[in-house]
Symmetry: C4
Subunit: 273 residues, 4 copies
């Protein structure tokens, strides 16, 4: 409809900003970046396993530089096109705003391993650099409209969820304290202080139950039994809240879509189901 063809910067901006993309789904550029992120996470995961890395150092090094280069180019492009978001202000301000935005900082953090590479064979730094590369994974969330649905469902129950977390935290501290009192003498290594008891309390209240620590005295087991039953409630409370939240969010989405379809004036011939 527009008689003039938009500039390259404008077209790149529309491609890279999920909210600017007019059609449903993701833009071709973001689809490709998404796939590259998944591929890069897979490479970083396999690279960490020495039995896979050994003998393939060259391949992994090449892939790292290649992927790092692409993501660096993407980052620089995003800085270049940033002024399109605010065409009236000065370009440098829009660019600075992108660089210090959470998305921009996340991008930079995920790029930093490229620079850390040459710090020598310090095991911890290497592992940390790999973790930063895997942080790219979190960038995927920005691209998806479905993620917004999840956020909305969680946000609508903010208060209840915070309350659930507080109740869970209180239960955790009180359970750990109780076992510290009754079991601390018998197993000082595992229950000799409240922070130590907490490892057991978390494993029990979440029903993970590793079994590396467990009460051995009679009274400790009776207390642990009551706490384990309360652990069911701990699961039941957030489950109940989230179940209701998702049910409501999905229903509202359906109502909104139905309303949009009616407002559009004609049914698209899709089966009613």
């Amino acid at each position: 409809m527009a008689p003039d063809r938009p500039s390259l910067r404008r077209r790149l901006f529309v491609q890279l900003s999920p909210r600017q993309w007019p059609a449903e789904g993701m833009s071709p550029a973001n689809k490709m970046i998404g796939l590259l992120i998944l591929f890069s996470v897979g490479v970083a995961t396999l690279e960490s396993e020495i039995t896979i890395y050994a003998g393939n150092e060259g391949i992994f090094r090449t892939l790292e530089l290649l992927l790092g280069g692409i993501f660096l180019a993407e980052y620089l492009t995003r800085i270049w096109v940033a002024p399109e978001a605010d065409p009236d202000g000065p370009a440098w301000r829009a660019r600075l705003r992108f660089i210090v935005s959470p998305a921009g900082i996340l991008d930079l953090l995920a790029l930093s391993p490229l620079l850390l590479e040459d710090l020598g064979p310090q095991a911890f730094l290497l592992r940390f650099a790999r973790m930063l590369r895997i942080l790219r994974f979190a960038r995927l969330g920005q691209f998806s409209g479905a993620f917004a649905f999840l956020q909305e469902a969680l946000a609508s129950r903010r208060h209840e969820l915070v309350l659930g977390v507080c109740v869970a935290g209180g239960l955790l501290v009180l359970s750990a304290t109780l076992l510290y009192v009754v079991e601390g003498d018998a197993q000082p290594e595992a229950f000799g202080s409240i922070p130590r008891s907490m490892w057991w309390a978390i494993a029990t209240l979440t029903t993970v139950g590793y079994g590396d620590v467990a009460p051995i005295t009679w009274f400790g087991r009776v207390c642990a039994g009551f706490i384990a039953v309360l652990g069911i409630g701990l699961i039941a409370i957030p489950t109940g809240i989230l179940a209701a939240a998702f049910s409501d969010a999905a229903q509202q989405q359906r109502i909104r879509k139905e309303a949009a379809r009616k407002a559009h004036g004609h049914h698209h011939g899709e089966p009613h189901q």
Copy 2:
């Protein structure tokens, strides 16, 4: 009502195709095949246990051949009656379509152990052949109308479930990476790479908690505690989605049945409950 009696092929087709069967429930032929499948799965299960198999080789061999023969006959009959599904096209095309359909391939796969039997005493092949026999189990799903209800409930929440799986996958990768960074030095065998850490991350996030691997350092345990609490959310999200899906699907089914009963014009005298 039809003045002519339908042909044998037609009658067999109606018996064997769950959707063609006019009455409620399963046809007599499918009921018998269903029971034979259950029996055959039971036989294959017991046969795999050497303490039961030893001394009863003859019985198991006979049962295998007998059941294999019946299922072979069923498979050939299904090929023979296939043209009834498309009476106007050529018979060979309908038959080929059945053979290459998922149901037809599943049938053939479950029959193949009959041929693999003589491959000698190679342990892995024998186990694989038994697994194929147990695949028959999956055929039961085709016979049941209730299975369609389950499918419908899941399909109606396709998007939310895919989203839940993606969030769970992301949480899994990030949890494994975190523990790899903080616990990798202390336990290189269990946390020395991201794929290794993932075994721990799955056991924790699903709350299975085998306990064969668990963090032992202070900081590792603090991180693991946070991840275990997030594991509750991992369970809560699909549970919430499925709870809402089943609730809605069951309600719609009731509304549909109610509508069908009213359309029928008279109440069948069943108690209102």
Copy 3:
């Protein structure tokens, strides 16, 4: 309102039959029997622990005979008053009907330890007799109106629950078979046959995760990881069904109570909440 006082047999019948009792809650006789059952279960539980039993044989023997005598008297009374349920038929038929009813058989089974007591110091028989005494516990279900609510909620979702159990059973067999194929060579003791694998499969799919058996090979762990994630679904399906069932049953109960209150003509002045 009745001018004649009902007979002793009639009054006992009304006291002992939960459905005959006109007021809300349980009748005094059933309340006392319920408490005696709880007490008797507690006695049988403590008696099984040798460190508690040793030195207190006399007390336990006396309590057993006393409680056994009371429950025997209750059983005989129930036989005596049975004809009140069907005043027009012959008395012996109503009594026989009670004796062969599930409730009557359960009563008799729970009494039988009184006779088994003198079978000598055979450990298994003694344990079995104690279990029969604890079966009395199941009798409590008959007394409670709330139990009927639970039954109703479960019955209304009969089909979905049966379906959920079938899906769970299928998943169990297929999981056990898969691990038997991929892990059988590495750990023949734990995964060397499908029944053996099932112990692991149950512990994983229910997320109990004892950790006494767990895959140790790479491929086994990858398969086990997928199965553990499916285990979440296994929990989510019945949870979703039951959540919806309870929600609906509770709502219907409220509607029914509301309707009953309105039909009564006046509000009982209770706060609206």
Copy 4:
């Protein structure tokens, strides 16, 4: 609006009583006390760990006395302002009523460690005193309006929850008895009595599954498998009840807020979302 400035006692009373505070949220005084409670719980937690306590005895001793002094002052102030709750009665009666109220007793209990401090280096008493300090945590519940929401949601399903606990208790006793009968001979240490079996039964039915005790006989494992599957139901029942309760409570709260907003006569211009 009031022409006279209220007395100091009145103003303190309004600050300290969550229900008297006219604005939304907590009063400044209660906010500060809440933070001090959290800080004091953190101090008591860290102090119990000998590796942190050793060398910092002075700091912990000072913090203890300081926090104890503040909470003592708060307690005395609450006693002093208590008559404001009942201005017409005699002052001593209102004060006594506060001292013997649950909140007053909890306050006193949490203060008592100050006096127990000098009882010498008896390990158990020291641990018990620390537990009392952590009991302060429970006081936080009184300050929060959200806690009332949780209480209301649970109270509305009182009957179902009690029923769920009873079913769970029955299942627990019957499971423990069953395993005691079938596994008692093979593992007398872990299953040799019903109370011993109960430790296993709790770990299984709650799906915690420590793995310190697990059946090893064939028949014991078959029984344990059935019980573990029932454990899913044990989780599903309270989860279902709580999910419905929270869903309803949240909906009613929204309806109430909506009604309050309409009654207020004008919309506050907040986005409809």
